[in-house]
Point group: C2
Chain length 170, copies 2
């Protein structure tokens, strides 16, 4: 069970952080490069975000009272951003604004002991292109051209999540 950290971007803290394998026994002390740049997801885990892999993200958001909420969602990854799609008014939508802190756990559907965990923040949200985006996710996950659960009464929204830190287990 090897675990690797990838580009940790922290602006405020110089503390070193520790990272551990879930169910594993390796402890790594991670460097904290104190970088400003967005964290890149390493090549090693990029397949978990690829169109060919039907990995769900378990997306954690914060409720108004600060407590966590987590559910599985579809995702894609483009230009260094993880994108998820929800509808206006849902819990995730109400919990996510630009700047909101979120976290994702993405497990390999073929090997549950291989995963990447990502922390990040909402960099952008838009309704533009959100209908086409949910269709592209339906294609990725269900192999269909059009999102089969579309509800004419609801407005879709794309959230762009900028990874700021993460660790993988392989």
């Amino acid at each position: 069970l090897g675990r690797r950290n990838f580009g940790v971007a922290r602006r405020l803290s110089k503390r070193r952080s520790r990272c551990y394998a879930v169910g594993g026994n390796r402890h790594f002390t991670l460097p904290n490069p104190n970088e400003e740049a967005m964290a890149a997801i390493p090549e090693k885990y990029s397949d978990l975000l690829a169109p060919s892999k039907k990995s769900f993200a378990h997306l954690a958001t914060l409720m108004e009272d600060g407590s966590p909420q987590v559910t599985p969602v579809w995702l894609d990854y483009t230009d260094g951003m993880i994108r998820v799609n929800t509808a206006r008014g849902r819990v995730k939508d109400r919990n996510m604004k630009v700047g909101s802190r979120v976290a994702l756990s993405i497990q390999d559907p073929e090997n549950p002991y291989r995963y990447v965990q990502i922390r990040g923040k909402v960099a952008k949200e838009t309704e533009q292109g959100a209908d086409a985006h949910i269709d592209s996710l339906a294609k990725k996950y269900m192999g269909v051209d059009s999102y089969p659960f579309r509800n004419a009464a609801e407005k879709r929204v794309i959230y762009f999540i900028e990874p700021t830190s993460g660790q993988g287990m392989n």
Copy 2:
């Protein structure tokens, strides 16, 4: 895609909350019974917590700065409590104290569109029996009698999570 709420226990809020299917199109307005009792996980989703099902929980905890963190963990369910097992000093251990608010997303390994999401709080933590407990989880998930990643230098801890609310999608 049907989604059902189960016993929502909220002491402080009388607001009605809404709940939605991820990737689905059903909106339900949930009753808020304002009960004090622990929420029971309905029979319909109990198989996701059973020893026979190798469902991982994606457990969200809160970092010291209030941001969410989420990773896959093993779980079992006994006496109305979800139990997870970690080691002293890990991120999850540092984030969980008695009373800490957590959330779990538990997907059916045979059908990713079937899951239960749970919010709750840490009711108890103990090192007592934690070595035997990690062995029993290794038995459940890996079919082995003894946890293969044991590290003599680390102390195992069991966390007991009391569900306070949750929804399922079936």
